[in-house]
Amino acid sequence: MALDQPKREFRYVGTRPNRPDGVDKVTGRAQYGADMTAPGMLTGAILRSPHAHAKIVSIDTSAAEAIPGVRAVITGADFARPEDDFLRDVQENCMARDKALYDGHAVAAVAATSAAIAKAALKAIKITYETLPHVTDVDAAMKTGAPVVQAGRALESVPGGMSQNVTHTCEFGHGDLDAGFAKADLVIERSFKTAATHQGYIEPHACLASYAADGKADLWCCTQGQFFVRTLCSAIIGMEASQLRVTASEIGGGFGGKTTVFIEPVALALSKKSGRPVKIVMTRDEVFKATGPTVSSSMDVRIGMTNDGRITAGEANLRYSGGAFPCGTVDMGAQAAFAAYDLNAVRTYGWNALTNRPKEAAYRAPGAPQAIYAVESVVDELCQKLNLDPLAVRLKNAAHKGTLSSYGPTFNEIGLEATLQAAKAHPHYTAPLGPNQGRGLSCGFWFNFGGNTCVSLNINTDGTVGVTEGNPDIGGSRASISLMAAEELGIPYENIRTIVADTNSLGYNDVTDGSRVTFAVGLATIKAARDAITKMKSRAAKFWGIDEEAVDWVDGAAVPAGPNAGKFPPLTLAEIAATSPQTGGPIAGHTEVNVDGAGVSFGVHLVDVEVDPETGFTKVLRYTVFQDAGKAVHPDYVEGQMQGGAVQGIGWALNEEYIYGDDGRLQNAGFLDYRIPVASDLPNIETVILEIPNPGHPYGVRGVGETPIVPPLAAIANAVSRAAGVRLTELPMSPPRILKALKG
């Protein structure tokens, strides 16, 4: 079957079998980043700047090096200096050169024979700092005269005369804005702010590096992309990528935050210097201070609407800060902001400014939650003021197949209208509300990606199948990949074992991100399975003495294509496999491809809240997630993404934020004061999966992982605003903020 011939009837895909790593994870047998040890292993520890912004005048490591049990001490000088801006920024973020750029920025590291000795060694390192003025607010950072975090980092597109902290600008959209606004009966313009948040994965970063005297190294780490880790580490350490073998452990959450490196090059450098394996595990304090939170944002949105609910123009100015290094996430926010709408006049302007904060990393649909929060809030306020039904207005303006999107491409088949109709028909939408209660809704969107993908599919001689892929499993993807292999091969799911391989075992695989794995690795697995089937059919053809074209593959066996081909009983996969060593050798299918054709995923969230006017506390009463999955390969895991992303969004909307003091230091670097949702905060999260097949995938699969974090921010803001009777424009909507807004 050609790859572009869609399949819509399934035997295994769409079922809910147990996942292959299930027993390991419920028994404690699964090995995560911090669970590996090696003989002779040393403990690594990192010294971090206590200043938000400071020149590093001198570092004296002699006292530390003299402590018995200390085997290596390193600073920024021990690393290579990559030519490429992007790589150099990653290196400098892993260990400072001349300046500490944020509270918690790594400045030195030690490896010692015990954790206690490593701790003592850090204390013995003498660093002289010259503190500098700092800036942590994005708008303050953009003002001329603001303390300059890094000079000379602005891209050419940034206009002259701006603060040197402004590194990036972008613009998207089409149409005549002035004419559009002139057509509106009501124009609302609002400003919004969102605080930086953290992905909040429960597993801190951890790695074990072993650098041998012949220049070969092995690295075990929790990561979303072992191949990218290899690229980054080899550039930063100054070694050939082929000499570094990276193995991904099971990962205790990533959500985008483990798509880069922080401690891995440090562990490798310590291992190289000491000649022994070095293990580094971050503390929770370090995770908050020195990994990759989201951007913080300040945004202005202006939207015009007619009395009957047609949006005539939309404009957004998005100011993001991705921390102390240049960051392009505002591009994605600017593109996603109005993506749900079919507009004649739309424009988004984006800016990035440096601040003395940690370097941003992705968090599930990076850049989109902030921008869409602002846009969906203004749309909701327009609906309130014009007395229009918010769902009806979304349906009236919804993007559909053929819409010229606000960010450029014309949409193919998309599921937005279907999700909106499903929300409209759902009992949640019309359930009665009580006093101090409000209902909010929001659309959400993510582009999804394909990317470089390699899969090997081996037909074992006992008739079982091994699938080797290169993408760490962060959501149950191994089960989905096995399901797709089972579907193609026609053998039971239980006969297939899918594993995630190290960097030596496959060609390059892009990171597990962009909601790409079930889509792209699935597509590659389907291709690899078909490749193996072609080879198995060829063995059957030889055995029967007929042409290869005369052989079909049905229900896990080679069969003659028709009565004219010959009367042969089916040759099962197991039978072909058993004789493969004698019929030409072991059989395997391969794919190495850069996958195209990812389908966007739209979602709609409905939420009811109750706001206590005395305490400002918000209780989430009811939550329903509607999302287009294209084809839900394993519905349990699609539901899991929808529920997990929604709850992360609930935390973001109501409580989570990075709090900086006047000294520029992070005040709440722990789970007590950076309060993520707990079980007792939440109701059940109901899920409704729509399936509008993606034409770019043989089964219609769309990535689903990122979209669910996008709608909650506005859905909850709209619900809270309606419940409280006042429009909230700053996240998180923690009780003090709500009380302040209620007081007026």
């Binding site: 809910r16 147990n18 996942r19 790593d21 299930g22 027993v23 390991d24 994870k25 419920v26 028994t27 404690g28 047998r29 699964a30 090995q31 995560y32 911090a34 669970d35 040890t37 206690a116 992905q199 909040g200 994965y201 429960i202 597993e203 801190p204 099971e250 990962i251 205790g252 959450g253 990533g254 959500f255 595990v281 503390t283 929770r284 962060i474 959501g475 149950g476 349990d636 895991y637 539901e639 899991g640 529920q643 997990g644 929604a646 709850v647 992360q648 722990g670 789970f671 007590l672 993520i676 949702p677 707990v678 079980a679 007792s680 939440l682 059940n684 999260i685």
Partner: protein, 158 residues
């Protein structure tokens, strides 16, 4: 400071270890005894990923000293299954897809088992409040609550 010699029972087995006086039990379990099922998510008792039971009481092992294990009965996730036989909670979590990355799962299973030993018929709200000390960032807790209830029903013989 001089190291301490501790004798204890872990998952029914007699165990002896040496530890520093200020060493958390979590570090002893993971680094000295190679029982890596309990995880350090925070080190400050806020996340519950290190949950174990000490003399039948649910505790965060990062807040207990190794020295406190002297003469005690400790249960960890590694002792939850009976050989090849998974505990009903473990089976319910697999069947109900009640975990994604799985790093919080050992702590949640230990905590859920402690709940069901105290209260065989908890309401959903009681389950949620009991598990409020176990952070999960992947699932949104929905399927976890459902799986606990499935196991509870099976254990009641329902």
């Amino acid at each position: 400071m001089k190291s301490l010699h501790v004798s204890t029972t872990i998952n029914g087995d007699p165990v002896e270890f040496i530890c520093d006086p200020d060493e958390p039990l979590l570090d002893v379990l993971r680094n000295r005894l190679h029982l890596t099922g309990a995880k350090e998510g925070c080190g400050t008792g806020d996340c519950g990923a290190c949950s174990i039971t000490l003399n039948g009481r649910l505790v965060c092992s990062c807040l207990v000293l190794g020295a406190e294990a002297q003469g005690a009965e400790i249960s960890t996730i590694e002792g939850m299954a009976d050989g090849e036989q998974l505990h009903p909670l473990q089976r319910a979590f697999i069947d109900g897809a009640a975990f994604q990355c799985g790093v919080c799962t050992p702590g949640i299973l230990v905590a859920a088992k402690a709940l069901l030993e105290k209260n065989a018929s908890p309401s959903d709200e009681e389950v949620r409040y009991w598990l409020a000390g176990n952070l999960c960032r992947c699932t949104g807790y929905d399927k976890i609550i459902a799986a606990v209830q499935v196991a509870a029903a099976e254990m009641r013989g329902a």
